[in-house]
Symmetry: C2
Subunit: 392 residues, 2 copies
């Protein structure tokens, strides 16, 4: 196991009706004037925003609002939020929504305290100061409610980049599974895929002898395999939603990923798709992941065989571990299509003729060094090959 | 799933040589004068204490020392520590040792800021103010390095009681698996048993539909089953020690136990044994646990069958789930004896003739209500029955 530090100081408030405690938690963590940041109309229409405002009013906490976050959140709105936060002298950012809203909020929280263009924080990849952040989660997916990460897309060049830092970990996160019951099935499935991707990116490692984190990741993936069909069949299944929601947080606060190298090639390769086509991140991952795994399989057949046996219940073929590994990847792909995820470029809305451009941006865009590195090192040619496999 | 809050703000610093960073982390969390609290001579003889003092000196942090913590830490030393902390105006308590030392440190940290007899905090079961605490862990067992709990024994009446509170969660915990390599095999095995007990106490639940935490607990138990024989065979196996150490923290910071009822009857029933006979807590648990599980089996046969199948790999007998459940409990007991744990009262050094007294104190001692309640409610008679099963 590699040396590591782990720090997850977020206060998680989980369960029914917990959104009504938002004001009390803002107060507990020192907020007196809040920027409420959210996405579209559903937060307004459902009455959620009103309930949160009422809880802030009750504690005598002032607020301003900024809605309009889109999936794959854009830098334009972050700039707007920073300007508003500075002008209104807010001391707390409250995200009400899913990963896009939380990531946009983190950009605003860090950018407000940064002397310079906030995009530099996403170019260099780390942040060291930010306004305190709280979240009221409405989608189980990104894990941003418990992570110190934020991903934002810059409109110029459609570059999707990330920044990291302990200061970006929310002070509190309110997680009411009932709030996710009204999500359209496609978004629910995209969230499930994103959670599973966060687990696979950690599972695919070159570090040996990490049984504890292997087992924990397998546990969360098996949970998703058990709960996803239940929630797809019955969107109002609170219990299935609750299991998925806690799994989504645990998948990404990194308690199950410590002390081991991680992959993240599928994320890097997907980001260019959602940046260019504005498709859902989860849907892009569904297309990319099985192909990245197949492409990199030979680098460590036994790791993928372990995943197949332990996670997917594939019987081990001791004479031909590779067939076991491939069967695990095939079952993963079938599972994703069974919950309504696209299987290839066409179903995703991506275009084969863009492959060279996509691979070029993935390798050379912005501050990229000309290749991608994770479980293996991928050249531009490798990435083109993977995108081509995604067309099948 | 039940509503819950979860908060684990400890900064974990894990890996080789990390004890040399103790001073830097005390400084990071605002300490300027430290009470270093530790147990016996091994911390001194190994040079660990000197390395920690050097790291404090390097940061210009002052300190006083208090050694002498015994397993099953006593209130006498806590009173002494409180007096010393007040006299010397320390603002940080640094525990160097295992669960006993950390728990004693927590008693001192909370007692120093409490107007009254610190034992009241253990009678009522909660603490709301404490000096900040840091730990340098030398035994993987109690999980106190990541928990908000402390257990202390009062000499008068040999009462073993607990207090809880977020303020008791360490600000940082330094976890170097190499520091556990010099432990005698018996203590290593006691630690392993304690970790498995923390997992079983959470696994045995009446809450339905908690797949995510079921799977996470199973993952950690399977990790222990895999790693324990490796470390018993080769005490210098750093990797096995590392997997056990992280599992021990995860077993007890409660991220795998949220949203579900928990048991803790085995702990309650064991505490009277280690209080009266001063045996190791882990050894007492090894004797008690399989019998508590057998005694309570009929309350929910399928839960114990699930444990048998998923954790111990027992084939499910669909015609007779109870036999599957019993086989799982039998395997657990065999596993514990295989690592050198006692199987019954005699091997533990407990006496059959004390059973009535033990059950009386468990039910009626101090502030107890006349029964024990966990997965089931146990009368004094039930507890006598369980202690009697422990004689076999």
């Amino acid at each position: 196991m590699e040396n590591f530090t782990f720090y997850s100081p977020t206060y998680f408030v989980f369960g029914k009706d917990t959104e009504n405690e938002a004001g009390a938690y803002v107060k507990k963590f020192g907020g007196s004037k809040v920027l409420i940041h959210y996405g579209g109309g559903s937060v307004v229409r459902s009455g959620l925003l009103d309930r949160i405002k009422a809880s802030l009013d009750k504690e005598g906490i002032g607020y301003v609002e900024l809605g309009g976050v889109k999936p794959n959140p854009r830098s334009g709105l972050v700039y707007e939020g920073i300007e508003l936060a500075r002008k209104e002298k807010v001391d707390f950012v409250l995200a009400v929504g899913g990963g896009s809203t939380i990531d946009s909020s983190k950009g605003i929280a860090a950018g407000t305290l940064y002397d310079g263009d906030f995009w530099e924080l996403y170019q260099r990849g780390w942040s060291e100061k930010a306004l305190p952040i709280g979240t009221v989660l409405t989608i189980a997916a990104a894990g941003s409610e418990g992570s110190g990460d934020s991903v934002v897309t810059k409109e110029e060049g459609m570059l999707k980049r990330a920044t990291h830092g302990d200061v970006l970990r929310p002070k509190f996160s309110i997680m009411n599974p009932a709030l996710t019951q009204t999500l359209p099935p496609y978004q629910t499935a995209c969230g499930i895929t994103d959670i599973m991707a966060h687990l696979y990116e950690r599972y695919i490692t070159s570090t040996k002898d990490v049984e504890v984190t292997d087992r924990l990741i397998e546990a969360l993936l098996m949970t998703m395999i058990h709960e996803a069909p239940r929630v797809m069949k019955d969107p109002d299944n609170y219990e299935a939603r609750a299991n998925i929601m806690w799994a989504g947080m645990m998948a990404h606060n990194n308690s199950v990923g410590v002390g081991r190298s991680q992959d993240w090639l599928s994320h890097d390769i997907e980001h260019e798709l959602s940046a260019l086509y504005d498709c859902a991140h989860g849907a892009g991952l569904a297309v990319v992941m099985p192909n990245v795994h197949r492409y990199n399989l030979k680098h460590d057949v036994m790791r993928f065989a372990k995943a197949a046996v332990r996670i997917w219940g594939v019987p081990m073929d001791f004479d031909d571990p590779e067939s076991t590994a491939l069967e695990g990847i095939a079952r993963f792909r079938s599972f994703l299509t069974s919950i309504g995820m696209p299987a290839n470029f066409k179903e995703l809305g991506a275009k084969e003729e863009d492959i060279e451009k996509l691979a070029d941006v993935a390798c050379n865009g912005d501050t990229r060094p000309g290749y991608l590195e994770g479980f293996v090192k991928l050249t531009q040619k490798d990435i083109e090959n993977i995108y081509r496999m995604c067309c099948e």
